[in-house]
């Protein structure tokens, strides 16, 4: 399965979004959180992201979903086309869509496409 890493400024935001995504996609969905700095502050940590990537790497590709700012910049630096892809998607909706798709066994390109579909979700008016 494609592994998904949620990169957020806050450890709590990343962890709870990962828990939500696993709750909806299924407990076996390979979703890991990399939130905040190593000392528990707000920010981004390369070490935490690398550890999270390793923890969900099943050899089928990895998706980084950042929240904003330094998370995006760091994720862009860590992306390796074809193996570690950055999903440019809304954080919560994208994480859930990617997790559901990954848990269903979709390949990397399909997981990215599912996450990108999150841009089209409307909460009030229909498309």
């Amino acid at each position: 399965m494609v592994g998904i890493v949620l990169v957020a400024h806050s450890a709590g935001l990343a962890a709870e979004t990962a828990a939500l995504a696993r709750g909806i996609a299924g407990a076996e969905a390979p979703v890991a959180a990399a939130g905040g700095t190593e000392d528990g502050g707000l920010g981004t940590s390369v070490d935490l992201i690398e550890r999270a990537l390793a923890s969900v790497d099943q050899g089928d590709g990895l998706v980084l979903i950042p929240d904003l700012g330094s998370s995006v910049l760091t994720a862009r630096l860590l992306a390796e086309p074809g193996r570690v892809e950055l999903a440019d998607v809304p954080f919560v909706e994208g994480a859930i869509a990617a997790a559901v798709s990954a848990a269903a066994g979709a390949p990397l390109a399909d997981v990215l496409a599912a996450a990108a579909d999150a841009w089209t979700y409307r909460k009030v008016s229909g498309p």
Binding site: T37, T44, S45, S70, L73, T74, R76, L77
Partner: protein
């Protein structure tokens, strides 16, 4: 007869930049408190302190190694947006640098570093970012090379251009980063990223001014004179 910028010069650059950032940490944080999240001074101080430590623990053997080590350390240790941005700048500068390092080669590599910031941040001059200091500094360096100036004078011009660029961010409306959410309310404040960039460029002047005559070598000799 071109002056060679050796390993010791590059190490001294980061040493001085680290010292200046420590001294100006509160000023940078105050600028960031106005339009950002008030962590720029603290983040950069932590990053450059780690750079000093890394350069002391694993003494680099070449200017390229100094830049790559410093860049990698900043990416891994800063935690805010300035880490990946400055880190990419120094790493890319290192990758683009040809040795022995003449002023012309330095200027070319510096420009490559600035381009890395533009690409990663998807920003341009006028967006009220560090690029408003770095792009004018890079242009000033290129012009100084064109005029055949010595490093010290070239760095003085670059530092002046970076400082003027920083001042020019005051009336700008931010288009990148947290400050961009403020819209018109970001106007009237100096950009902290441009301010720190100007400090880092100014360190080049300090270090070049402190270069003893013995460090002026002929490139044709292939002399590095690395102090290590």
């Amino acid at each position: 007869m071109d002056t060679v910028l050796d390993t010791a010069f590059f190490v001294a650059w980061f040493e001085d930049a680290a010292k200046v950032i420590r001294l100006r940490r509160e000023d940078l944080t105050r600028l960031d408190a106005a339009i950002g999240d008030a962590d720029h001074g603290v983040n950069l101080d932590r990053g450059f302190t780690e750079v000093r430590k890394a350069l002391a623990d694993w003494p680099p053997a070449s200017p390229v190694q100094v830049l790559v080590s410093a860049g990698t350390t900043l990416i891994r240790r800063v935690g805010g947006a300035s880490g990946p941005l400055y880190g990419s700048a120094f790493r890319q500068m290192g990758k683009a640098l040809e040795e022995p390092v003449t002023l012309a080669r330095f200027a070319g590599a510096f420009e490559a570093g600035v381009v890395a910031v533009e690409r990663l941040g998807k920003a341009a001059p006028g967006d009220k970012t560090m690029l408003d200091a770095l792009v004018p500094a890079s242009r000033a360096l290129a012009q100084a090379v064109h005029e055949g100036l010595e490093p010290r004078e070239a760095f003085e011009r670059a530092a002046r251009a970076a400082e003027e660029g920083t001042q020019a961010t005051i009336p700008m409306r931010a288009r990148k980063g947290r400050a961009s959410y403020l819209g018109e309310r970001s106007v009237g404040h100096e950009d902290p990223g441009a301010a720190s960039s100007a400090l880092i460029v100014a360190s080049l002047v300090t270090v070049a001014g402190g270069m003893p005559d013995g460090m002026t070598d002929d490139v044709a000799d292939g002399a590095d004179g690395a102090g290590g």
